[in-house]
């Protein structure tokens, strides 16, 4: 009796959690396919894709490509750097690991606005192109996430695998490619995903350092949302911002699941 009641409560809890995550998306999806939806009506009065068409006309396509590029570059840079830092932190050879760890996690504490304002001046003086500056700053912002994820992964990694592979004739490079990377694949995928998100969803750094010339999806969403009366376009752009990370997340979860099937 109490057991089944508990099960019902747990199910209800899960349902509420799911609703909490999914509900905000429902009006977004409805707006995305609504041509007219006035206040008292529960559902749109006219259905259509004019929101998506407007978004495309505003340059959603190239902005999507820029966002993918930015997120990808940040992931490509921050993941290996995070792996190196994570491995160093997990090894016992690092002097003052607490201090090094705190420094690496500090970008989480300092507001990005402050960093961006400060670095904007510096980057301008150094003559570094705005695009490169954005990538550089976002890579630093992503490092705490990749470092943290990979430090945990390296902490759980058995260095005996490396020793075994080397006595079997594998060079350090082969050990990396044939043993470490496959065994750490789930953590690497998770770290890369987080780094991608940092680049994908950034607004502040892209605006301040990019100087408005690097128009990514978040910039497009913000400018569309600041105007009145084009909810459909904002909804279409927002969906475009939400769906790729969700798809990526499912892929990363798939890598993790596959890895768990072979790991003991």
């Amino acid at each position: 009796m109490t057991r089944s009641a508990g099960r019902v409560a747990a199910g209800l809890g899960r349902l509420l959690l799911a609703a909490w995550f999914v509900l905000p998306l429902v009006p977004l999806v409805l707006w995305g396919v609504a041509d007219r939806w006035s206040a008292p009506a529960v559902l749109p009065q006219e259905w259509g894709l004019s929101g998506a068409e407007d978004a495309l006309a505003q340059g959603a396509g190239p902005a999507l490509a820029r966002s993918v590029g930015l997120g990808g570059l940040v992931a490509v840079l921050a993941t290996p750097l995070g792996a190196l830092a994570g491995r160093a932190l997990a090894s016992r050879h690092l002097p003052a690991p607490a201090v090094v760890g705190a420094v690496l996690l500090s970008p989480l504490v300092v507001p990005p606005f402050v960093v961006a304002m400060g670095f904007d001046v510096l980057l301008l003086r150094l003559g570094i192109p705005a695009g490169a500056g954005v990538v550089l700053l976002l890579t630093v912002a992503a490092l705490p996430y990749t470092t943290y994820v990979l430090r945990t992964a390296y902490g759980a990694y058995d260095p005996g695998f490396d020793d075994e592979a080397r006595t079997l004739g594998a060079s350090p490079r082969q050990v990396l490619h044939r043993v470490q990377v496959p065994l750490l694949a789930p953590a690497l995928a998770a770290a890369a995903f987080l780094a991608f998100l940092v680049g994908w969803s950034d607004y502040v750094v892209t605006v301040l350092v990019g100087g408005g010339r690097l128009v990514t999806l978040p910039l497009l969403v913000a400018s569309a949302a600041s105007a009145v009366g084009n909810e459909a376009q904002v909804a279409a752009l927002s969906l475009l911002t939400v769906l790729p990370p969700v798809a990526l997340l499912l892929t990363v979860a798939g890598i993790g699941r596959r890895a768990r099937q072979v790991l003991p």
Binding site: D158, G160, F161, D163, E164, A165, R166, T167, L168, G169, A170, S171, Q174, R178, V179, P182, L183, A185, A259, Q261, V262, L263, P264
Partner: protein, 373 residues
């Protein structure tokens, strides 16, 4: 598939003021032979293997393989495969790809490498396991795959780091037999370490006893059992009998009376050691008994039993206790009077002081060798 391995003065110090983890170890492993290093945990035996494999750099000394000094040669270029206590099968590869690992890093095609892997799986009696995932295997099967993987690398020396100590007794016996068979067919040079003197005896042609980073004694296990050079060696080999006394002109005097010692030994205090398996118990009035005594303790060990006998409780010197390990037979309850018989060829005398032990006892063994020649 076999090389002649020599360790010369191998020393490892972690810091200039620290005691060395390994001190000046010399060892010769003839091609095709198997040497077991026996030592308690922390004795430096795993360190010795890691230095040999090139996974760590020695502070001093060299590893020589077939006359070539391997100093500065990376682990992957030494031609030594190692099997660890944990099987360490790569979890992202199936069994055949695990065994094929050495061939694959050598550049052999996957198909050819897997074909060879299946031959090695047959060799370790795991035919048809090639597509299995490592985590679906039992502990014994995992260690067989690890062995096949090491053998498939065709190492010139096979290094085994307590490979069977995580297995239960029955499986361990099976692995001993398997290794015997593999040695007959492939004749690999084997250097293994273990903390178990029975395992050292089962797997090694010769045994080297390591304690505190130093080699105490090496030789065939039979000789180590009957002629330990020190109390430390006797204890590491599971010896239970240590009878303090005085040596005068080749005779050891203690509560057991005067016993002749066949090996040359200096006059003065000395501890008589004798394997519990060599001690015989007779009737108290038997003519050949060396001393009469009383059973004070009985410990069952399966079909065998450890019988402790106290000798000389009425004599002028403090009484001594002798333990005999006996097979099935009539029960000897506590309180029974018996006679203790110590075969003269099984007796050895070592120094009481552990520091002085090595010195004096080495001489003992060397002169014992002379006697045998």
């Amino acid at each position: 598939m076999n090389g002649h391995l020599r360790l010369e003065g191998l020393t490892l110090r972690y810091g200039p003021r620290q005691e060395p983890a390994l001190a000046d170890v010399d060892l010769d492993v003839v091609a095709g032979s198997s040497v077991a290093i026996l030592g308690p945990s922390g004795s430096g035996k795993s360190t010795l293997l890691r230095l040999t494999a090139g996974l760590e750099e020695p502070t001093a000394g060299t590893v020589v393989l077939d006359g070539v000094d391997l100093s500065g040669t990376a682990a992957e270029k030494r031609g030594m495969a190692m099997v660890f206590q944990r099987p360490l099968l790569f979890p992202h590869l199936d069994v055949a790809d695990n065994v094929a690992f050495a061939d694959r890093v050598r550049g052999v095609s996957r198909r050819a490498a897997r074909r060879r892997a299946r031959e090695f799986l047959d060799l370790v009696q795991l035919p048809g396991f090639d597509r299995r995932a490592p985590r679906s295997l039992s502990g014994g099967q995992e260690q067989r795959v690890a062995l096949a993987r090491a053998l498939a690398a065709e190492p010139r020396v096979l290094l085994l780091d307590e490979p069977f100590s995580a297995l239960d007794t029955g499986l361990r016996e099976e692995m001993y037999e398997l290794l015997d068979e593999l040695r007959l067919r492939l004749a690999p040079t084997v250097l293994l370490v273990t903390h178990d003197h029975r395992e050292a005896d089962a797997l090694g042609d010769t045994v080297a006893v390591l304690d505190g980073g130093r080699l105490l004694q090496s030789g065939p296990m039979r000789r180590l059992y009957t002629r330990p050079v020190s109390l430390a060696v006797s204890r590491l080999l599971g010896g239970r009998n240590e009878i303090a006394g005085q040596v005068r002109d080749g005779w050891h005097h203690s509560a057991l009376g005067a016993l002749r010692v066949t090996t040359p030994v200096a006059n003065g205090p000395g501890v008589l050691v004798v394997r519990q398996e060599a001690v015989q118990l007779t009737a108290p009035d038997a003519v050949d008994a060396d001393a009469p005594g009383t059973v004070v303790r009985v410990r069952r060990r399966g079909p065998r039993a450890l019988i402790t006998v106290e000798v000389g409780e009425r004599g002028p010197v403090p009484p001594a206790r002798v333990t005999a390990e006996l097979g099935p037979g009539p029960a000897l309850p506590v309180g029974r009077d018996v006679g203790v018989l110590l075969p003269v060829e099984e007796l050895a005398v070592v120094a009481a002081d552990p520091d002085a032990a090595m010195h004096q006892a080495t001489e003992v063994v060397e002169s014992a060798d002379d006697g045998q020649r």
